[in-house]
């Protein structure tokens, strides 16, 4: 394989070459190196969206426009992309349609969040579903952008107004040229910018990754850096060796068969969202509420597992669905049930030099029912206080088997063995007989108290969610049981 010693991305039709430093964020590159100050820093932790820029890439042969948070994205992760910022949209004094709509609808007050919103909406302007937008779809799209001034109504109005035109802005007109320019950057080379002591590397193949990681087992792997970015901006950790998985061919594949879906570790959370939704609308709903579009565009399925967080949202869902994890070190691979990967708080079954290769998720069988619920202080872009996932195998109206996993209830994503056992044989038609099984959750989990919820609240919610799941699986429509995430609406659309 050829080796490239720098990072390359497009800015306004020109190729930028960067060879370090490895921890440089894209936002700092823009503001401190380019002195392009239109893009703002509101939090430096991925939560406010003020730093949103759009990466234009070729993906599956199509041009895509992906809003990302430049504050926690490393400049190296822009490799191969066209980086578009708020300064780039207008043509002379003619504003871009999303900018004009924001002006016309009074979508800015203090204006500090505005560049981020404009860029998110610019992504929406180029999204495939722009033609059939409603307020909910816009809300989902901008869940990662905070505005403290406007109350959002005018911004949503601006989105709907702007996306009502033909979509043929100056960028759409240049898409072919951009595709050619980006193709020229797509060189299949293993990228290694820096020295053996300090580098940003982006291997292009699984083999190259495996070799590099064996040589540098002390390196930090990054998928989307939506966790690691905060180690840099908030904890000010020194991460001299960084290996980015975003260029590794075959690590971003999705194999969707009748029985199961296999996600490569580097599959973005946004790409996985549709496939998980196809398994069950609740899994799709969880992914809709997972972080924000900007975070999901960067963050990976592998990263959400490998970080071992007790409050990660995908692990409980994948565990309840019966997922299997594949790990690789050098040429050797091994598989294990996902729940076994999580040994204890901060401890996973991953050896030095070993990386997450993929995760395989079985689809539901006709007699299986699935429910999952995310409970958090705020519906959108919040970390779960409790994440509950239930897979129930039915035998008529009775529960033949159950797999239950919770997040936020223990030091790891964890199954509820005692409750699962107690549920076997339960009659869904007899709610008065459920209490004993539901109470078993208290022996499965002794949650902690923290700023997201007290121990007592978490336990109470866990019991409430199991009851809710049983009521719903027993046949109650979710309009009667939920305030968000109505399944019937998801099925209808």
């Amino acid at each position: 394989m050829p080796m490239r010693r720098d990072i390359q991305f497009m800015r306004n039709g020109r190729v930028v070459h960067l060879d370090g430093p490895p921890m440089l964020t894209l936002l700092d590159y823009l503001r401190l190196h380019e002195h392009a100050t239109g893009t703002k820093e509101g939090c430096a932790e991925g939560d406010c969206g003020a730093c949103t820029v759009v990466l234009r890439r070729v993906s599956g042969g199509e041009i895509v426009y992906q809003p990302v948070n430049s504050c926690i994205l490393l400049a190296g992760q822009a490799d191969g992309a066209d980086v578009i910022t708020v300064e780039d949209l207008a043509e002379g004094s003619a504003l871009h349609p999303v900018q004009q709509a924001m002006v016309d609808k009074h979508g800015s007050q203090c204006g500090f969040c505005t560049p981020g919103f404009v860029m998110a909406l610019f992504g929406l302007y180029h999204a495939p579903h722009r033609a059939n937008l409603d307020r909910h779809a816009v809300n989902d799209w901008i869940a990662g952008n905070l505005c403290r001034c406007t109350g959002y109504r005018p911004i949503v109005d601006a989105a709907l107004a702007a996306c009502g035109d033909d979509g043929n802005d100056k960028f759409a007109k240049q898409d072919d040229a951009a595709a050619r320019a980006l193709a020229a950057l797509d060189d299949d080379a293993d990228v290694f910018a820096g020295t053996d002591q300090r580098f940003f590397a982006a291997p292009a193949s699984i083999a190259a990754l495996a070799t590099l990681y064996q040589q540098h087992p002390d390196a930090t792997l990054i998928g989307g850096a939506t966790d690691v970015g905060l180690w840099i901006t908030k904890q000010l950790r020194d991460l001299p060796k960084i290996i980015w998985l975003g260029r590794v061919k075959d690590l971003d594949g999705i194999a969707d068969t009748d029985a199961a879906i296999t996600f490569g570790a580097a599959v973005s959370q946004e790409a996985a969202r549709r496939h998980l939704a196809a398994i069950d609308p609740d899994a799709g709903e969880m992914m809709r509420r997972f972080a924000s579009l900007q975070v999901r565009n960067a963050g990976t399925i592998g990263g959400n597992i490998a970080n071992g967080s007790p409050i990660g949202d995908t692990p409980p869902v994948l565990i309840a669905l019966g997922a299997t994890l594949m790990l690789q070190a050098g040429n050797a691979t091994r598989t294990l049930p996902l729940e076994n990967f999580f040994i204890a708080y901060g401890k996973q079954d991953r050896a030095k030099g070993e990386f997450v290769h993929s995760v395989s998720v079985p689809k539901l069988k006709p007699n299986e029912r699935f429910r999952c619920y995310k409970v958090s202080k705020r519906f959108d872009q919040d970390i779960s206080a409790v994440l509950a996932a239930f897979k129930v195998t039915l035998d008529g109206n009775r529960i033949a088997d159950a797999r239950i996993a919770f997040g936020g209830m223990a030091g790891t994503p964890k199954r509820a063995a005692a409750t699962e056992a107690a549920l076997r044989g339960l009659d869904l038609g007899k709610p008065e007989t459920w209490d004993t099984a539901i109470a078993k959750l208290d022996s499965d989990y002794q949650p902690l108290t923290d700023q997201r919820g007290s121990s007592a609240y978490r336990s109470e919610v866990a019991r409430g969610l199991l009851r809710k799941a049983l009521i719903e699986i027993g046949g109650k429509p979710t309009q009667a049981t939920r305030v968000v995430g109505i399944r019937e609406a998801a099925n209808a659309s």
């Binding site: 100050t37 239109g38 893009t39 703002k40 509101g42 932790e45 939560d47 406010c48 300064e87 949209l89 207008a90 504003l95 999303v98 900018q99 004009q100 002006v103 009074h106 800015s108 007050q109 203090c110 204006g111 500090f112 969040c113 505005t114 560049p115 404009v118 307020r135 816009v138 809300n139 901008i142 869940a143 952008n145 403290r148 406007t150 109350g151 959002y152 109504r153 005018p154 908030k234 000010l236 409970v375 958090s376 202080k377 705020r378 519906f379 959108d380 919040d382 970390i383 206080a385 923290d450 700023q451 919820g453 919610v461 969610l465 009851r467 809710k468 309009q479 049981t481 939920r482 305030v483």
Partner: protein, 767 residues
């Protein structure tokens, strides 16, 4: 009401105009302080915070910090040539802690380095040893220790003891109300540029004049040698009224000591830890009322967490008392305020300035009465409104502009309140898990600084030879649209297009000794001052035109970019040129002070407010009784801004204020641990509303009516009052919970997080 005198039809004011910076906002070319080109050699500061909440400083070892790469200097209290204070009033806020620390994160030292990153990294190398003492963290802890930061204060009217005793119904209760982080999107930032003997500070501040004075004291400079400038802030909401000062002062200190430009921009987490918030309150109340639900007596103790220093807590707690009545007549009342000292960051101004917390208590009282008597809470509210013969506030000001009854009736109709209440009852009867609730609540908010002398504004207007106008005034722009509104006033005065009025940055060098842009007063006072400046120039121009064209003065009129005289007209710019040649001064200051205010703080009596702004909101919510999750379904608002100067801007303030208030009362929760550490110091754990929290069904209308007082074009202040409309959301949540056990009182505390809601659900269900 005196008739409104308007001699010409209005063209510019009372029309919707865009924010003057809208095009820049969307293009990324609106310059905030961190976006300004840095002077060559600019250094960067990072703060070093106390590792514990309370104790004597034993030692501060900064050797490793000084030796760190890029570090130029480290600042401690000993480096301050003048006064080590950044407080607005009392003198108890050291810029750098000296001898003791009083809250976790209090700034002990600051690193000055070649880059911001180097400064932040170096901070981590400090070794601070503190003789830690147990901090008082909560209002309750401070109450038990009886630790006050300011003396208590009381309003009394009537004989409350007797009124309570004589009432057929009596209740007492306690409501806890959480604080709120401002979460302005642009964090605290300042850039200080040293001059020969001068200091120029660009600061994201609502109060440039105060920072100017503090920097002068700190650096031992005359105030005339210090200039503070701000073009715009990326949000402020009160959080940059007094608490922007520390960062500007530290940057200025560093600039003075290094001779180089110095910038201090706080990291978001530092900002949330090191700057104050809305005060959390505990309200303990006793009610006496009749069978119709009318209050006879209201006895309330409002205790607040002020934090470690006084900051603006006096005015804030006073305002909680001024709004303890909200829109309701209290025949007998005892309103007592305790200002508790805690070892937490000093709480500060935040949109509403204590008013919202005072209102929350009386709104809970209204619900309590309704629940106890089995009445519709709206009927209880309507029966208690100010009215004829029931118009005296507990602080001796008569309510003469009361439009609440009419406004509420209008909203009751337009929101279809009664039919929806019935529909909700029917829904709830059939829905064991999901419960709906509705509430319609009023707002009456007093406009003026209650510290009367602050009610003054200044402006400076120049007309240049090409007929363009340079506008400057004492108000600061934080997104509220102040600048465009005042430009509208000036354009209207000169009869020219808005584009010909150049809005310029607020600076202490052009308009001196200004009041903070706060108390919703920005347009009222600065608009009047700017109008006055423009009128002075216009008067001179009128005189000039009358004599130059030989027409009577009355025949000179300014409109459509022209000046009309007799049957002729001349372009405005041409007249200006002629006037200049005719040696007419084309520049003027303008000044305004609010008339008729008579507040006597010692007697707790008088007229603190020029007028009241009114509004009402009706909110409908649904809750999940298994998890406590809540969704707002519909909001209807009818709000009084007098004759709006700019309806689009005002509606933006109403909607934005409402959503911010909704956040305060629902998801925004400040969690401190027992050691006084704020655990929710980042947007990952502190959740302000997102777009999906705002219901699609959001109906906002302006109440049609003029201000009775002679404010600028009969408009009313709009910055703060709409925030309190969101109390309707909180009350609607309580209403939904109440449906589980009608007749029981709902012990819901604010914020109504899912956990708080579920706790209240369990409490009413288990009785």
């Amino acid at each position: 009401m005196p008739p409104e005198v308007v001699d010409v039809p209005l063209r510019i004011v009372r029309t919707s105009r865009r924010h003057d910076s809208a095009t820049r906002h969307v293009s990324g070319s609106a310059t905030y302080i961190d976006d300004m080109p840095e002077p060559h050699g600019t250094l960067h500061l990072a703060p070093g915070g106390a590792p514990v909440a309370r104790g004597k400083i034993k030692s501060v070892d900064l050797d490793a910090v000084r030796a760190a790469p890029g570090v130029v200097r480290v600042l401690t209290a000993a480096d301050i040539p003048g006064t080590n204070d950044v407080s607005p009033v009392v003198g108890d806020d050291p810029a750098l802690a000296d001898g003791e620390v009083q809250f976790h994160g209090q700034v002990v030292f600051a690193v000055v380095a070649e880059t911001r990153e180097a400064a932040r990294r170096a901070v981590k190398l400090a070794k601070i040893e503190i003789d830690a003492e147990t901090p008082l963290v909560t209002v309750d802890e401070a109450l038990s220790a009886d630790l006050n930061i300011l003396p208590e204060y009381r309003f009394t009217t009537g004989e409350v003891g007797a009124a309570l005793a004589a009432s057929p119904h009596r209740l007492d209760g306690t409501l806890r109300i959480g604080g709120q982080e401002h979460f302005y999107l642009e964090g605290q930032v300042a850039l200080a540029v040293p001059g020969e003997d001068e200091m120029l500070v660009y600061s994201s501040t609502q109060h440039p004049s105060e920072l100017q004075a503090l920097v002068a004291h700190m650096l031992k400079l005359p105030q005339a040698a210090v200039t503070v400038e701000v073009r715009r802030m990326g949000g402020a909401f009160g959080g940059k009224e007094s608490q922007a000062a520390q960062w500007g002062a530290l940057a200025a200190l560093a600039a003075r000591l290094t001779g180089r430009a110095c910038k201090m921009r706080l990291d978001r987490d530092d900002d949330m830890i090191m700057t104050g918030k809305r005060h959390d309150f505990r309200a303990d109340y006793q009610l006496g009322f009749d069978g119709e639900g009318r209050l006879n007596g209201y006895d309330v103790l409002l205790s607040s967490r002020c934090g470690y220093s006084a900051d603006l807590s006096q005015g804030i707690n006073d305002r909680a008392m001024f709004h303890a009545d909200n829109a309701y007549y209290l025949p007998a009342a005892n309103i007592l305020s305790k200002r508790m000292k805690t070892h937490t960051v000093s709480n500060t101004a935040f949109r509403g300035f204590g008013g919202p917390q005072g209102m929350m208590a009386i709104e809970r009282a209204m619900d309590d009465i309704a629940w106890t008597l089995g009445l519709d809470p709206l009927d209880v509210r309507i029966r208690n409104l100010y009215g004829d013969g029931r118009d005296m506030t507990p602080y001796g000001m008569r309510v003469t502009d009361n439009i609440s009854p009419e406004l509420i009736a209008g909203l009751e109709r337009s929101s279809d309140y009664r039919a929806r209440r019935k529909a909700i009852a029917a829904f709830n009867a059939d829905s064991p898990i999901i419960k709906r609730g509705i509430a319609l609540t009023p707002v009456k908010f007093g406009i003026s600084f209650t510290n009367t002398f602050l009610n003054q504004g200044g402006a400076l207007v120049h007309v240049y030879k090409d007929g363009t106008v340079h506008l400057n005034h004492g108000g600061t722009e934080m997104g509220q649209g102040l600048f465009v509104k005042i430009a509208q006033v000036v354009a209207e005065e000169f009869g020219i297009d808005l584009e010909h009025v150049k809005i310029t940055a607020t600076t202490t060098a052009k308009v001196p000794n200004t009041s903070p842009t706060a108390a919703s007063s920005g347009t009222d006072i600065n608009g009047m001052a700017a109008q006055s400046a423009a009128r002075i120039i216009k008067d001179r121009l009128t005189d000039f035109a009358a004599s130059f064209y030989n027409v009577p003065r009355e025949q000179v009129a300014f409109r459509e970019n022209k000046v009309f005289y007799g049957n002729h007209s001349v372009a405005f710019s041409e007249l200006i040129l002629r006037a200049h040649v005719g040696q007419v001064s084309l520049s003027s200051t303008g000044f305004y002070k609010t008339p008729d205010l008579t507040w006597d703080q010692a007697k707790a009596h008088g007229r603190p407010f020029y007028y009241f702004s009114y509004g009402a909101a009706c909110s409908e919510v649904m809750i999940d009784t298994l998890t406590g999750e809540m969704k707002v379904e519909r909001i209807d608002i009818l709000h009084d801004v007098g004759k709006s100067l700019n309806p689009a801007i005002d509606i933006g303030q109403i909607e934005g204020g409402f959503v911010q208030g909704m956040g305060w009362l629902t998801a925004e929760e400040l969690v401190y641990d027992a050691k006084g550490r704020l655990l929710t110091h980042a947007p990952s754990t502190y959740k302000i509303p997102t777009s999906s929290d705002v219901p699609a069904d959001f109906r906002v209308a302006l109440f049609d009516g003029a201000n009775r007082e002679a404010t600028i074009y009969r408009s009313k202040a709009v910055g703060e009052p709409p925030l309190m409309l969101a109390i309707s959301v909180f009350c609607a949540v309580a209403d939904a919970i109440h449906s589980l056990a009608p007749g029981r009182r709902v012990p819901l505390d604010a914020p109504a997080t899912p956990e708080s809601i579920l706790r209240a659900v369990k409490a009413v269900a288990q009785h």
